[in-house]
């Protein structure tokens, strides 16, 4: 193995693993970073990395353009509160910036209590690790905020898993835990992978290296079944593509279980020993025979039989479940069905099946195995973030009890460490149950274009707070609109640290992030957190001098010291299969799964405890011909959003020339028949409207999307445009989330309309319109909250709106 740092001529070459910034999920791809005279000259893949083996996506290949971009913020900034929305930033020192933050936080805490402060974190980034710690350990507030309506990313799947299996995150088996990979003794390739609502090649999802799927198809003949409203490129290489109507997934998944039971394609030994409630599940899915699902989903009945049989007969079989589970109010039930599909074959945690993790989760809560509630108290050796906050007098249990929205959605609060986002937005607006006075944004841009629904409401709500600050790399709509202090953050190749797939919930390997260069005065997220922490709670924070001190204390203590990991670059997890048979899943060391029955709960007592049906059921999409027939004339299209492009991570990377070149404009995919009817041609500007607002994207006319359905890209803004209000870098022009409501959630609080909304489409002239991306005008459809009542009658009844 090559050294982590070596000299070749005038260049020093570092081996390191990537996380973020810039945004990415913790896949930990291997990099070789070439440095000359303290400057990065080139980034390439690391051929010695066990998973990526020299491959690298465009985002890391273009890292030099990103880290040395002229718009990057490389020293702290401050701005007078009255200048919010104007480009009137002044350079300041780290000392002054952190003083300002600490001073405002202290004043607000004294006057209103620490819960008047909130800390936002963006999706899947490394900052995900830190924003609950910023909240609980720096400011002593319970209110960390993931602003996506219905917490619609990963959290729902984590919760499904915690409730039914007891913890860890199920991921397809591509021999990712072993150094010798596909040669590993006992490993076999999945015969079939059911890819549900996911595009693993583009989405780099949370720890799965997507192109491993292609390796297995090519080398081992693995067959794919895709369930997706779009035929993706991977779909064209699959045995079956079930092109269902967006949002009807649960009906289809129930029909799959129906077929498996009907044909008896299940592992009865495994079910008898390790599952609970199989008979009740089978009884429940009798409500959803393939003929009925076919009608609901718009998929041929015989295809459902054929695909379910292909999956059911495969030995072994595996399930890759995606974001479509999360972005659906009926998704909690979809997740329930998919976990059942993983389990009743007997291939859960089996070679070539769907792997489970041991359940460490990076210092928010660290303990071997088992389901861990964020509220649970743990002992000294493995103190959680929360327990550290209590023990060090930074936060009281009473304050923790004031986490916004958790009284109404306790299921969400039992697994996730944040507020309930839709309820938090209402709290910001109504100042009930109490007023929020300060926000801090960690790699998060809720006024922007990636995660928040109705960003127009977040914009109005956040602008009025007393004090806001951010830790980020580039100015964005949120920082420009409402922040008073900006802390410049180091990228993944500018700081030491670690990366672990699935945030530790299912670890393939532990990877070192090795610092290669320093850019300006940038500090890592952890260094910035320590700098403010030392001014807020010095008794706790003064024990750390470097990032490594903190990592070793709080992040990596259950693994190995950072210095050791750095030398090795990657250390495989080597987690065994069949952990439930050898007592490696339960905290008490007993065999079985860490649930109350010790089994995979197909009939879920946890669902029942939180007021949800213990068995899966189908519900029509909140917006659509069944439930909003009166709206369909005006908004006749079904809109799905959020499919990823590999050159962008959500709203990021739009300013990087090599990446923007690949996709210069936002695109809405529509079927040629619809396009012809509306007189729309490729590249025309199209106005997309819902009852909540309207934006524009360019037409991409493709047969891979069904007639009557369209897909719009998310994450679009124009960093090259005027950043000042009202334009805010063109934030409102193509921002598809403007069309999405909040508070359209399932019983446990999860899900939203991001993947099943309704909309209208019309061709518009590109030039001269207020919404044209070349103009600096603003076209912000006012939120029609007041005139539009559907949101208010949605279950569960919204008492704050009625009050």
């Amino acid at each position: 193995m090559t050294e982590w740092k070596r000299q070749e001529g005038e260049e020093t070459i570092f081996r390191t693993c990537a996380w973020s910034p810039p945004g990415c999920h913790p896949v930990g791809c291997g990099l070789q970073v070439h440095v000359k005279d303290g400057k990065v000259t080139k980034v390439e893949g690391d051929p010695e990395h066990p998973i990526t083996k020299g491959s690298l996506c465009t985002r890391c290949l273009a890292l030099p353009e990103y880290i040395y971009h002229p718009d990057r913020i490389t020293h702290p900034l401050k701005r007078a509160r009255e200048d919010r929305g104007k480009d009137k930033w002044e350079r300041c020192t780290w000392d002054e910036a952190t003083d300002l933050i600490a001073q405002n936080a202290r004043e607000i805490t004294e006057k209103y209590g620490a819960e008047a402060i909130c800390v936002f974190g963006g999706t899947g980034r490394e900052g995900n690790n830190w924003y609950p710690q910023w909240a609980n350990l720096v400011f002593g507030t319970p209110n960390s905020v993931y602003a996506q309506a219905g917490w619609s990313c990963y959290g729902p799947r984590m919760t499904n898993t915690a409730f039914m299996i007891g913890g860890g995150y199920p991921e397809i088996d591509y021999a990712q835990k072993f150094e010798d990979r596909y040669e590993h003794e006992g490993w076999v390739a999945p015969e079939c992978i059911l890819i549900w609502g996911k595009e693993p090649l583009r989405s780099n999802p949370d720890g799965l290296y997507g192109h491993a799927v292609i390796e297995m198809v090519r080398q081992f003949g693995t067959k794919l079944i895709c369930v997706d409203p779009r035929v993706t490129w991977l779909g064209t290489r699959s045995e079956e593509v079930l092109q269902l109507r967006p949002g009807t997934d649960t009906a289809l998944a129930m029909a799959f279980i129906y077929v498996m039971a009907h044909d008896d394609l299940v592992d009865h030994d495994f079910i008898d020993k390790w599952c609970y409630g199989y008979e009740q599940l089978v009884e429940r899915v009798q409500d959803m025979p393939p003929a009925k699902a076919a009608e609901i989903c718009g998929v041929p009945e015989e295809q459902i039989w054929r695909a379910a049989r292909l999956y059911g007969n495969a030995k072994p079989s595996s399930v890759a479940w995606g974001l479509a589970v999360d972005e659906n109010p009926n998704g909690t039930q979809l997740g329930q069905c998919l976990i059942a599909l993983m389990a009743i074959t007997g291939f859960i945690d089996a070679p070539g099946g769907t792997t489970l993790g041991m359940g460490d989760d990076q210092g928010n809560v660290v303990r071997d195995g088992g389901s861990i509630s964020a509220d649970e108290k743990v002992d000294d050796a493995t103190d959680s973030t929360l327990e550290l906050a209590f023990k060090n007098g930074i936060m009281t249990e009473e304050t923790w009890g004031r986490r916004v929205g958790i009284d109404k959605y306790p299921a969400m609060g039992s697994i996730l460490w944040t507020v309930m986002p839709d309820e938090f937005l209402k709290a910001l607006e109504t100042e009930k149950p109490y007023k929020i006075h300060m926000a801090h944004f960690i790699s998060s841009n809720p006024i922007g274009t990636a995660i928040s629904a109705e960003p127009q409401r977040w914009y109005e709500a956040l602008k009025k707070l007393d004090f806001n600050c951010a830790a980020d790399l580039f100015m964005n709509p949120t920082t420009m609109a409402c922040c008073d202090v900006f802390l410049p953050i180091a990228s993944t190749i500018e700081h030491d640290g670690m990366v672990v797939t699935h945030y530790g919930l299912n670890s393939s390997f532990y990877g070192a992030q090795n610092k290669c260069v320093q850019v300006g005065e940038c500090k890592s997220d952890v260094e910035a957190m320590m700098a403010v922490g030392k001014k807020m709670y010095p008794d706790f924070w003064n024990r750390f001098e470097t990032q490594t001190d903190y990592d070793n204390f709080h992040v990596m203590r259950s693994w190995l010291p950072y210095e050791e990991l750095r030398e090795k670059v990657t250390v495989m997890s080597n987690e065994p299969y069949y952990k439930y048979e050898i007592g490696k899943l339960r905290p008490d060391g007993q065999v079985g799964f860490p649930t109350s029955t010790g089994r995979v709960e197909l009939y879920s007592y946890m669902y029942e405890q939180f007021g949800e049906n213990p068995l899966p059921y189908y519900e029509d999409p909140a917006y659509g011909p069944e439930r909003t027939p009166e709206l369909m004339e005006k908004y006749p299209f079904i809109l799905t959003t959020g499919a990823r492009r590999q050159e962008f991570f959500h709203s990021e990377h739009k300013q990087v020339p090599s990446l923007r070149q690949i996709t210069p404009y936002p695109q809405i995919d529509l079927n040629p028949a619809d396009a012809a009817r509306l007189g729309i041609e490729e590249d025309d500007w199209v106005e997309i409207a819902s009852p909540y607002g309207a934006v524009r994207q360019r037409a991409h006319v493709v047969p891979t999307i069904k007639e009557g359905v369209c897909h719009a890209m998310h994450g679009w803004w124009y960093p090259e445009q005027d950043g000042e209000e009202p334009n805010l870098f063109g934030n409102w022009k193509s921002n598809i989330n403007v069309l999405m409501p909040n508070s359209v959630n399932g019983v446990m609080g999860f899900g939203n309309t991001f993947k099943q909304m309704i909309c209208s489409l019309k061709k518009v002239e590109g030039e001269g319109g207020p919404n044209d991306p070349d103009s600096t005008g603003i076209f912000l459809e006012p939120s029609r909250q007041a005139e539009f009542t559907y949101q208010q009658v949605w279950r569960p009844t919204d008492e704050t709106q009625q009050a």
């Binding site: 080139k42 051929p47 491959s55 690298l56 273009a62 030099p64 490129w233 891979t704």
Partner: protein
């Protein structure tokens, strides 16, 4: 004959564009030029319901098969970065043998 060629299994080129950016990093041709470019044959459905949608990476005049890298025992930048691992380097004969073994949707490229 020892002339080098690129072999591409374009059944599995996923259109990720990694080769383009990796190549540009290597040959430093600037943002408006390419040493290798990914071309798309856009999706269409055949009468029997099956789908066509192909990408292929095509090296151009600026490609010198990464002579300096291969001399140092490294893979060409495009081959190394390729996420689908569908690009390979070899002599024309070696590539032809791969092509014969694959038997479909593959090509030998000599820029």
């Amino acid at each position: 004959m020892t002339q080098k060629a690129l072999y591409i299994d374009y059944e599995f080129c996923s259109g990720c564009h990694s080769c383009e950016v990796a190549c540009r990093n290597e040959i430093e041709c600037g943002i408006d030029d390419w040493g290798i470019k990914v071309l798309e044959d856009k999706p269409r459905q055949h009468a029997d319901g099956t789908w066509h949608w192909d990408y292929i990476a095509l090296p151009g005049e600026l490609c010198d098969m990464c002579e300096a890298r291969t001399a140092a025992g490294k893979l060409p930048a495009c081959v190394q970065s390729c996420q689908a691992k569908c690009l390979e380097i070899g002599t024309i004969e070696e590539c032809a043998a791969k092509l014969a073994a694959k038997g479909k949707k593959a090509a030998i490229l000599v820029p």
